[in-house]
Symmetry: C2
Subunit: 359 residues, 2 copies
């Protein structure tokens, strides 16, 4: 299986490490040899139609901050071939964007792995990458929430029309297979509603506030530990949870919605008093993303009883599904992390591979 | 899909109800029409090669306490056919056992659903029913833990040799898809170890003891609520959890073990003092079934920190899997219940059906 990997940040690099460490095992268990034939970051691209040397790719990234010099440094004998011309000009007279486009269109590969940063304004550059790949008959595995949050119904339709798969395990719950659980493990039952803690950063902040910290101090603490970005708005104002909720609503409930259909509110208004008041009733305040039985989608701070399985602390994620016949089912796990998310990509690649060999 | 259902107690009856209520939906979503062509309880059998009238079957069971009179009461025109001779003698000059055997061998059906009571001494009558079905090319869905706890490795081998499926979702976690989660949702990752609360009755008793009840009072309370049997030994002494652990070890970890390979101890020795002592350290005592990284299997009362996701109360079940790349993942749900377990059977039937249409 030949893979074009766009985005070589924490998740992309962890995917390379994961593939390095698991090659033999993945072949033995799934008969699959994933090879990255192109890796692209914001400053350049590395290509090799027979598969990049991942050890070297990681080393080049570490030393030079970009994969763009991978091909410059190699002897380029049997490598580089058709795409080589494209590579020469990366960062010179053409923008990386058009090179990405050229690689996705022109290079022989079965799958695009889209791992560029999430952008909830216009979904770019992920959205264009995904559309180009699908239109050129390539399956897509994305960990980028932006394109899905903004255009999931049309992307799923486009993929179906073009006979390719679009998978996105890593967009919800990091390595925790929340989407798979809901879709594959409850065959024969019906999910009536669900609610969950989908953002680890805000859950960490709320957990710290329960220990007595103010919102500002808890946010500062989360920043120091690397849980919150310099601009925490994506997490704190509920955008991230709302994006994930929209993805779940499409995939699990068959709804055709985008983030615009989610009514959401973050945790900036939650005061220490609110939390202490809840505590005195055996409850805590959590940022809950929910799809109720009338299929209303919302993200907002809500009281949850401390004894509920859903009530997890720290950066954990948790979702409780209410099913027609099996009652309430809860899945809990780490919601983020480079290696965790990389493992979700590998899971998707295996699914794509299995679907390819069946159909 | 034609089904022979052996065992028509709570679970069997709930399966009939579930099929009645979900016929259209299951056909629309999975292209499958499950028909029960034979239903057998300890006192008799009902057969109809074109599919039993489930409403009537439930009614007959309610009125007469056995399905054995279903055929006697009908006009038996196009029904009954070949098996009719067999039916006439149920409860007369032949034992039900040999009739069961005859039906499983001789009747055209794709699947045996084995729902007779769990017997951990010799696995009968479930063990013989399952072996007969497999040898005669029938897929098997069982909710009976006995045969698996005692002979799972050889039963799986026998099924593979005969090219049929053996499925058992409902044996662990009731309706909670614990086995499916571990096997299907973590593709590409590796489960290193797991531990869980697999028996709802003992978890209820321990939860009540935490509230201050003695073991005897808590057991009595569980009996009154219908959570514990008249002979509570299967639950209280750890047999039930050990049986489930053996099933998980085979299915999830690929081990070839039976209940005899599980070191187990129940909760009779747990004193109120032990529980209060744990409580003073922020912990509770739970009956934990575990498979550690050295693949040692054990069931015993252990301390668990109250803040762990695994730490659920009441009759809930919970399992935490430690995976190589995705960290700790926890699944929580109701561990028992007639309708919940029936929904697990339906899930298995759908899997069998999907495998039949592929291969």
């Amino acid at each position: 299986m030949r893979i074009i990997l766009v985005g070589f940040g924490v998740v992309g690099q962890n995917l390379a490490k994961l593939l390095l460490s698991r090659t033999d095992d993945v072949y033995a268990r799934y008969g699959m040899k994933p090879r990255i034939v192109a890796a692209i970051d914001s400053r350049g691209a590395a290509v090799c139609s027979s598969g990049l040397d991942l050890q070297r790719l990681l080393e080049v990234k570490r030393l030079y901050g970009t994969v763009g010099v991978y091909n410059d440094e190699s002897k380029q004998d049997e490598d580089g071939d058709v795409m080589h011309t494209g590579m020469d000009v990366v960062g010179r007279d053409r923008s990386t964007g058009s090179v990405v486009d050229e690689i996705i269109r022109g290079m022989d590969a079965e799958v695009l792995v889209e791992a560029t940063p999430t952008n909830l304004r216009d979904g770019e550059p992920g959205l264009s990458n995904i559309i180009t790949a699908i239109k050129h008959g390539k399956n897509v595995v994305t960990v980028n929430k932006g394109p899905l949050a903004l255009a999931m119904p049309s992307l799923l339709e486009l993929a179906e029309y073009n006979g390719v798969m679009l998978r996105f395990s890593g967009t919800v719950g990091g390595g925790t297979p929340i989407l798979e659980f809901a879709r594959h493990c409850l065959k024969g039952d019906r999910i009536l509603s669900f609610r969950g803690i989908l953002n680890g950063t805000t859950n960490y902040i709320l957990s710290m506030m329960e220990e007595g910290l103010t919102f500002d101090d808890a946010l500062e603490d989360a920043r120091r530990k690397g849980y919150a970005e310099a601009d925490p708005s994506l997490d704190v104002d509920g955008y991230d949870a709302a994006a994930k909720l929209a993805i779940m609503a499409n995939w699990i409930m068959g709804m055709k919605v985008t983030i615009r259909d989610v009514r959401f509110r973050g945790i900036r208004d939650v005061s220490l008093d609110d939390i202490l008041e809840a505590k005195s009733h055996g409850s805590v305040i959590k940022l809950l993303a929910s799809c109720d039985e009338s299929r209303r989608l919302s993200v907002e701070p809500m009281r949850v009883e401390k004894s509920e399985p859903l009530c997890v602390n720290g950066t954990l994620n948790a979702v409780t599904f209410k099913s027609e016949h099996s009652g309430e089912l809860t899945v809990i796990g780490k919601g983020a992390g480079g290696m965790e998310t990389a493992s979700a990509i590998l899971r998707d690649l295996i699914e794509v591979r299995e679907a390819m060999s069946v159909g």
